[in-house]
């Protein structure tokens, strides 16, 4: 057998699979991974941002009061959380009352000389939806 005959045989062998491709199911599965890639960073970013902010708030907290939240007459209007836009609405969740340091409260436009009480609204998915300051 010559080198040329061997090369021809290899080309013949290659031609058998010249049009071979993975089945469409493979593409479908990979597309799902791409789609998840598209959505997941935002979800993780929101979760991380909420976690970080809760941590910042908790750092200045003297205590977490018992639930439930106080009557609406005692509190300001709800302020949507930074990253709540586009999030699915929370069907249920919890209030958490915190004491927020004055400098943290100032970021929300609340001017105070000392710690301020605030209610954090956290959905059952663990993500923060809104905050309101107790007057």
């Amino acid at each position: 057998m010559t080198d040329e005959k061997l090369r021809q045989a290899l080309r013949d062998l290659a031609s058998e699979s010249a049009n071979a491709e993975a089945r469409p199911q493979v593409r479908t599965a990979l597309r799902k991974a791409v789609r998840a890639r598209h959505t997941s960073p935002m979800v993780w970013w929101r979760a991380a941002a909420a976690a970080v902010t809760v941590g910042v708030l908790a750092a200045g907290v003297a205590r977490i009061s018992e639930w439930p939240a106080p009557a609406p007459s005692q509190v300001e209007a709800l302020t949507p959380w930074y990253f709540s836009a586009g999030m699915p609405p929370a069907e249920s969740g919890q209030w958490i009352r915190l004491e927020v340091p004055a400098d943290t409260a100032a970021r929300f436009g609340v001017v105070a000389n000392g710690p301020v009480q605030a209610d954090l609204i956290i959905g059952d998915d663990g993500l923060t939806r809104a905050i309101r300051f107790v007057q």
Partner: protein
């Protein structure tokens, strides 16, 4: 395009997959002899690319070479601890000087397929990339991470082994 894919752009995925999936699949198929394995390799390669698991750097070389390299690693992972993917067909004793009379081209190709499958992987990949995928020595060297001279010597040795095996099975010039 790769950055867009990694950001979740499905159109970028379609474009890249449409262009690069067939050669990756064929390479894996020709190396493994198994369509199921080839599909797994395609999944591994593109999942790694989607998640940028190994950090593709466009400055380091073309995407095609990178994907072949990824496929090669995926195949190697599967090969570890496994027997050669295809057993050599029962060898036919050499028949003196008389060529195997009337051997059809298809038979020759079948014998070649078996002989190729029995080659050590580093020889087989040289044959598959250079002779079947028709890549240049330079590109093959880049994929395999070896000098061009090594590609040439592996290819030469691989052909020698194929000649030996085919001759033992009665294939003559």
């Amino acid at each position: 395009m790769v950055e867009r894919l990694q950001a979740g752009d499905e159109r970028a995925f379609d474009a890249l997959y449409g262009r690069h999936q067939p050669p990756v699949f064929r390479y894996a198929l020709r190396m493994s002899g198994s369509a199921a394995t080839a599909e797994e390799v395609v999944q591994d390669v593109f999942l790694d690319l989607i998640h940028n698991a190994r950090g593709y750097d466009p400055l380091a070389g073309p995407l095609r070479s990178y994907l072949y390299g990824m496929a090669r690693h995926a195949l190697a992972r599967r090969r570890r601890g496994e027997r050669p993917f295809e057993r050599l067909v029962d060898e036919i004793p050499a028949n003196g000087d008389e060529p195997l009379a009337g051997m059809e081209r298809g038979e020759c190709v079948e014998l070649l397929r078996s002989a190729l499958g029995a080659l050590p992987a580093h020889y087989r990949e040289a044959v598959v990339l250079c002779e079947m995928e028709e890549l240049s020595y330079a590109e093959t060297a880049e994929i395999l991470g070896v000098p061009i001279g090594t590609v040439r010597s592996r290819l030469s040795r691989a052909k020698g082994l194929l000649f030996e095996r085919l001759s033992r099975q009665g294939v003559k010039a």
